[in-house]
């Protein structure tokens, strides 16, 4: 199974139409990767689908960087008993 980081980057690349290799942990979804308003919503929705979790809307949308997303999703998976590869 791929790690959370790999899966987050893969979803991000797919939604934002980027190459996975271009995505770094410190990248901001909006400032560096160019996510627009609707794409931010799509990212959260796709993360939920990818990991089989439900995220709090306001908390999820306040996540700024790829690294923060990895950390946030890891926490939610643990809280909701979803198995992941760290």
């Amino acid at each position: 199974m791929a790690t959370v980081e790999e899966r987050v980057k893969a979803v991000t690349a797919n939604v934002l139409k980027l190459n996975v290799d271009e995505i770094n942990m410190n990248d901001s979804f909006t400032a560096d990767l160019g996510a627009e308003s609707v794409q931010s919503i799509e990212l959260v929705a796709m993360f939920e689908e990818e990991f089989g979790i439900e995220m709090d809307e306001d908390a999820a949308l306040s996540v700024q960087t790829v690294g923060e997303a990895v950390e946030f999703i890891t926490d939610v998976c643990e809280q909701q008993g979803v198995e992941i590869e760290e």
């Binding site: 308003s37 919503i41 799509e42 959260v44 809307e57």
Partner: protein, 465 residues
């Protein structure tokens, strides 16, 4: 930079102060007035107590069937009876819309009046409207009306250029003959001082009104002359310091306190030629005129009259209470008027299709969190019109979420959150970014997509409807 005269320390708070005494939401925003207000008249300061309006018996009168009808093809009898019925519902048991006036000249005019009265409503009371011609009182008497308006034009534009009188005295004598005829017939005359805001107030209007007041002493109070202040061309000015004849405060002062016409015999009739029509009417209330004359949706000669619905919400704001008014009738009236071809612009306050529709995503975001942020009052409760969002490329996911929740009728925790609307939000964005669309997306288009993307919600909330 100006010199600081007073420091204003921050009053920090952990809980919001929503000023609910002024913005109760269940009612329109209140207008709390502090007095006294000073107007300099003839070199002397004169006090007006605006706060008294809360307890003063003020009223709305209606001229939808007279001035309102001068701006459009005639209504059918059935249409007028339906409108009158709804006006009565709006007015309520206290008669806030106290009177409405009718033409009396044709068979249809008279049949309309009879059929409206046959409905048995107490309010609005039916009054007539005639020329200042003695013979016309026969029509008023035959119709069994207690009061009629009559044209008594008072600017020299009208006296000399329209009516061709040879002198002001000849004009006044002629008008007074007709007033006498009204008294003889037992009808209360309401003298319409046409073109008042372009008249010689000291030289003609006040002497004429003095004479009317003297004449009124011959008759019982209920038949004494009422005065309608007609701002025929919309020249009236509401703010203090304006000169006569355009100053509404000074006009009312002169008639009310110099000529002695009681407030309950003064009525303001405005026109909207300079976009001042509603505030001018409300100003007349504050300065001592008990009646303001209005039409539904402001529809009237040229640019129109004070809108009745605007007066209704002003009334509630000044009184602090609905006073028996059924505001839902405004929406019924708007729907009925549209159905018979009266155009009401989409952005028209209280009645337009989009009066409480927001297009900006950031506003939709506010609405989604708390509708009070971008809604003027509880428009669902008072008008049956919840706030809406029109969907364009500027609506964002917030706007789409608001639309979707309203469409499915979801409230509180049942509402679909922003994340769940991503498919519909993406479709909306692609309409503009990919398809090159330049128009707003209609409800019908969104409904098709809502069914496609949210079949479970559709099944639960829409399939049975």
């Amino acid at each position: 930079m100006g010199k600081v005269k007073k420091k204003h320390p921050l009053v920090d708070a952990k809980r919001p102060n929503l000023l609910e005494d002024i913005f109760p939401y269940s009612l329109p925003p209140m207008i709390h007035l502090e007095g006294p207000v000073i107007e300099n008249i003839d070199g002397k300061p004169v006090e007006f107590d605006f706060g008294a309006v809360k307890d003063r018996p003020i009223f709305i009168s209606d001229t939808t069937f007279r001035d309102g009808q001068q701006a459009r093809p005639p209504y059918t009898i059935e249409q007028m009876v339906r409108i009158y019925d709804l006006l009565s519902k709006l007015s309520g048991p206290n008669g806030v819309v106290l009177q409405t006036e009718f033409f009396l000249y044709t068979k249809n005019d008279r049949e309309t009046l009879d059929r409206c009265r046959a409905l048995g409503h107490t309010y609005p009371e039916c009054t007539g409207w005639i020329r200042a011609v003695k013979g016309d009182f026969r029509l008023v008497k035959e119709a069994g009306l207690k009061e009629t308006g009559m044209l008594t034009s008072c600017s020299d534009y009208h006296i000399f250029h329209k009516l061709k009188f040879r002198s002001r005295k000849e004009c006044i004598d002629s008008y007074c003959e007709v007033v006498d005829a009204a008294f003889e017939e037992g009808v209360r005359p309401r003298c319409h001082l046409e073109d008042l805001t372009r008249a010689d107030i000291e030289g003609f209007v006040l002497p004429f009104v003095d004479r009317l007041m003297e004449m009124s002493q011959q008759v019982p109070e209920e038949r004494s002359v009422k005065i309608r202040l007609c701002d025929t061309m919309g020249f009236g000015v509401s703010y203090p310091g304006a000169e006569l004849p355009r100053s509404i405060p000074k006009l009312i002062y002169k008639l009310n306190r110099e000529c002695g016409v009681p407030s309950d015999r003064l009525e303001w009739h405005g026109h909207n030629d300079f976009h001042k029509v509603h505030v001018n009417a409300a100003t007349a209330w504050l300065y001592g005129c008990d009646f303001i004359n209005t039409t539904l949706f402001g529809f009237g000669e040229r640019t129109g009259n004070p809108p009745l619905e605007g007066a209704i919400f002003e009334y509630i704001a000044l009184k602090g209470d609905l006073c028996g008014i059924d505001t839902m009738a405004i929406t019924e009236l708007a729907e009925y008027m549209r159905s018979i071809g009266l155009p009401i612009p989409d952005n028209y306050p209280f009645a337009g299709r989009a009066f409480n529709t927001t297009r900006a995503g950031i506003h939709a975001g506010g609405l989604r969190q708390d509708e009070q942020i971008y809604n003027i009052f509880d428009t669902a409760k008072l008008l049956g019109r919840p706030p809406r969002v029109a969907i364009t490329d500027k609506s964002g996911a917030d706007g789409v979420a608001h639309w979707l929740n309203e469409f499915f009728g979801l409230k509180g925790d049942d509402r679909i959150n922003k994340i769940r609307v991503h498919k519909l939000a993406r479709w909306v964005i692609d309409q503009y970014d990919v398809e090159g669309r330049l128009t707003a997306i209609s409800d019908q288009e969104l409904e098709v997509k809502a069914k496609e993307f949210y079949p479970d919600y559709w099944e639960k909330y829409k399939s049975g409807k």
